[in-house]
Amino acid sequence: MNRNYIYLSILILILSAGVFFLPERDNNQQISPEELMLQIMQPTHYISTDAVAEMIIEKDPTLELIDVRPIDEYNEFSLQNAYNLPLDSIMAEGYQDYLGIEDLNAVFYSNDDIKADQAWVIAKRLGYNSIYVMKGGLNCWIRTIIQPERPEETASSEDFELYNFRRGASQYFSGIEIEIASDDSKSGVNVVRKKKKVVAEGGC
């Protein structure tokens, strides 16, 4: 047998025996307070209701919605395909299975930002990444997606585009037929479409 094979065998044997002398490494290092503060200050962990609505409609497979409200509120109303992870249970055994799933972006939401933000900070301290907060929570969801306000007549075309998207999303989530607004609507011609029977979607 080639001597080099013998040398390599001895080397791997020594290295594998050497692992017994390596001290235990503490991998459960928490994020430092400075780093945590920096991440809290950055708005990049917020995601708008429009972006969430678009992801739900497009059935984005990377989206994982997590409702941090108590279970009774979750049963009453929740977003489509959302999981319930009540804030007071986030540390409990088994509940964290929802977090840290490869390739998934977890988006926390509650009625407003407060509980979702608290859940985000706890999850961050627990060492999870790819976690976000839906800005404004369900209150903002209702205001912007379910019952969007029509922009002023003098508003820009971008505002009308956003409004039309929201009206479309509103129809998708609530099943109510709507009229589509456009810049031409200033002419005063309103197209009123016949109401269709649409099955309500959106987990309501």
């Binding site: 080099n4 065998s9 791997i12 594998s16 991998n27």
Partner: protein
């Protein structure tokens, strides 16, 4: 530092780029090791060529030992490395089927693609069968879904099953590998009349 994606150092969209780079390197090593020849691969079952066993065992022990040192140096957090869930029943059956496929076809999935890359007709036929198998498995999945998910042991490691530390498991596998290297060398020497060991 690592793993890079779970730590948020790079985003998950890099998955495909990294997979492509690793794929190139893996394919190159397979071809350079002679794995695009089905004689080399099927030889392990007939007892005249154990290069497959030695190459894969070498990769395994280098990765095992290397990961423990990487963890010690802080280059990777082993707690964050994803461990595939173990479905013991379907994995045992899958292993047996894979073994039959290996010895009958003369390739494993990776090596069949390297065989195609160098224009081997048997590799092309193998891959056609491979896709037919995928189609049958995918469309028939509801029929055997219960069996597939039975025996779910979770994301478990050998050490956790045996109640041993990673260090003991690593040393054990290294010892088994070295014995296998030595044993297969003796078998090859007896079976093959002319043997030219690789010089480096």
């Amino acid at each position: 530092m690592g793993p890079l994606i779970p730590q948020g150092i790079i985003t998950g969209q890099w998955d495909f780029v990294i997979a492509l780079l690793i794929g190139f390197a893996f394919g190159f090593i397979l071809e350079a090791s002679g794995f695009s020849s089905s004689r080399n691969i099927a030889g392990v079952f007939y007892g005249y060529n154990f290069v497959v066993l030695r190459v894969f065992f070498t990769a395994l022990i280098v990765a095992m030992v290397g990961l423990l040192y990487f963890d010690y140096f802080g280059w990777i957090n082993l707690d964050l490395v994803y461990i595939l869930p173990t479905y013991i029943h379907s994995m045992l059956l899958g292993g047996v089927l894979m073994g039959f496929g290996f010895v009958i076809g003369g390739f494993c999935p990776g090596t069949s693609f390297t065989a195609i890359a160098i224009g081997k007709l048997d590799g092309i036929v193998f891959i056609l069968g491979f896709f037919v198998g995928i189609a049958i498995f995918s469309f028939g999945f509801p029929l055997y879904e219960d069996f597939f998910t039975a025996g779910d042991m979770g994301n478990i490691t050998i050490g956790e099953i045996l109640g041993l530390s990673n260090q003991i498991v690593t040393l054990g596998v290294v010892l088994v590998a070295l014995v296998a290297f030595w044993g297969t060398w003796l078998i090859e020497k007896r079976v093959r009349k002319t043997i030219n060991p690789f010089k480096f």
